[in-house]
Symmetry: C2
DNA sequence: CCTACCGATCGGTAGG
DNA sequence: CCTACCGATCGGTAGG
């Protein structure tokens, strides 16, 4: 039982890496089998097919994001704290699951129905959570009156590009990246004009 | 001659759409042929193979971006103007070539060597152009002292997510999106504290 | 988890 | 731009 679970974990980890490197469609079951070290046909004793592998990765990450935003909403109260924690959680999830995160962000399109629709629903739910934090900040008078859909989208855009450039073992820790991104999103590029 | 060119334009337009919808790897030459309305084998009288189709789209967009940043550097002088124009040009290019832009941003990974390396070089060159604008703003004392690599990356991240959500015929024009993104990147989410 | 295998589909070519 | 076709590879199954 334990060894089956281990095998499956290894399988998913290998898949995430390959799906990221080559894309889901360009990765064959034979590629996966070779990396895992078993025969292609043996994969089917662990999963029903290629699509299940993609589903397990995408929904696994979706659940982590869902838990992360729930945690933020449960613990913190004011919008700035919430946003800071939400950004930090988001960045940590991306950085500590780079391959899975990449697949979650870019390869979910290859999901088969009805999984695909359910996945989109979960993603929208998360996005809605971010929007609510921004709305809270506006209500508190702490954030600029802006289109909250637009603001949430721009925030998530900045965060979701991380797997494109982040290097494990590079100069920046997840916390450092989160802090810098949070500051950037909060205050922008422009230097405040000195009061003349 | 003119009809050959027209065919090729149509071919590239169809490819961009399919590569975006299904991904490069999942799109077959038969898919393309069917959409164009010719036999699969006939595609090879226009292009050498599937890879050339991807190259034409990716390098076509790369050239447009290259020209856009050159134009900005030629015409404008202060950093805020430059950045504003660079953002506007970038957004316009994305929005007016949504399918091609998507392929340019997401599917270039499937390029074969040596085209892939050359593509990355061009992309880095563009990114370098954006970094220089930011550096100019810092030198002018107009932008906050920040890591310019990080700032350029975050800026481009916000812009490059546009093809993921922008809807042709939606409520926002390219100019409106550019304006909002520019403001967001410049001043951030946070309301300025009133002087108490 | 393996051997043996299947039908379908792939990118691409020959020859006109 | 078409007909006819090729070898390679694909996801997946049967049976153990």
């Amino acid at each position: 039982m334990a060894s089956v679970t281990e095998r499956k974990k290894q399988l998913l980890s290998v898949c995430a890496r390959l799906f990221r490197e080559k894309g889901f469609s360009a990765t064959s079951m034979r590629d996966i089998a070779q990396e895992v070290g078993i025969e292609p046909a043996s994969l089917y004793s662990h999963v029903s097919g290629k699509d299940e592998l993609l589903q397990l990765i995408c929904f696994g990450m979706a659940e982590k994001f869902s838990l992360a935003i729930q945690e933020v909403n449960d613990i913190y109260f004011n919008a700035e704290e919430k946003l800071k924690m939400a950004v930090e959680n988001h960045v940590k999830l991306l950085v500590s699951n780079l391959d899975e995160a990449y697949v979650f962000l870019r390869e979910w399109r290859s999901l088969e129905q009805p999984g695909k629709s359910e996945f989109i629903r979960l993603r929208d739910e998360y996005e809605q959570g971010i929007r609510e934090i921004i709305q809270t900040g506006i209500d508190e008078g702490k954030f600029n009156e802006t289109d909250k859909h637009f603001a949430a989208l721009t925030l998530l855009s900045s965060l979701n590009w991380i797997p494109e450039w982040y290097q494990t073992g590079g100069t920046w820790s997840a916390e450092k990246v989160a802090e810098k991104l949070y500051q950037f999103v909060l205050t922008g590029l422009k230097k405040k004009d000195p009061i003349v």
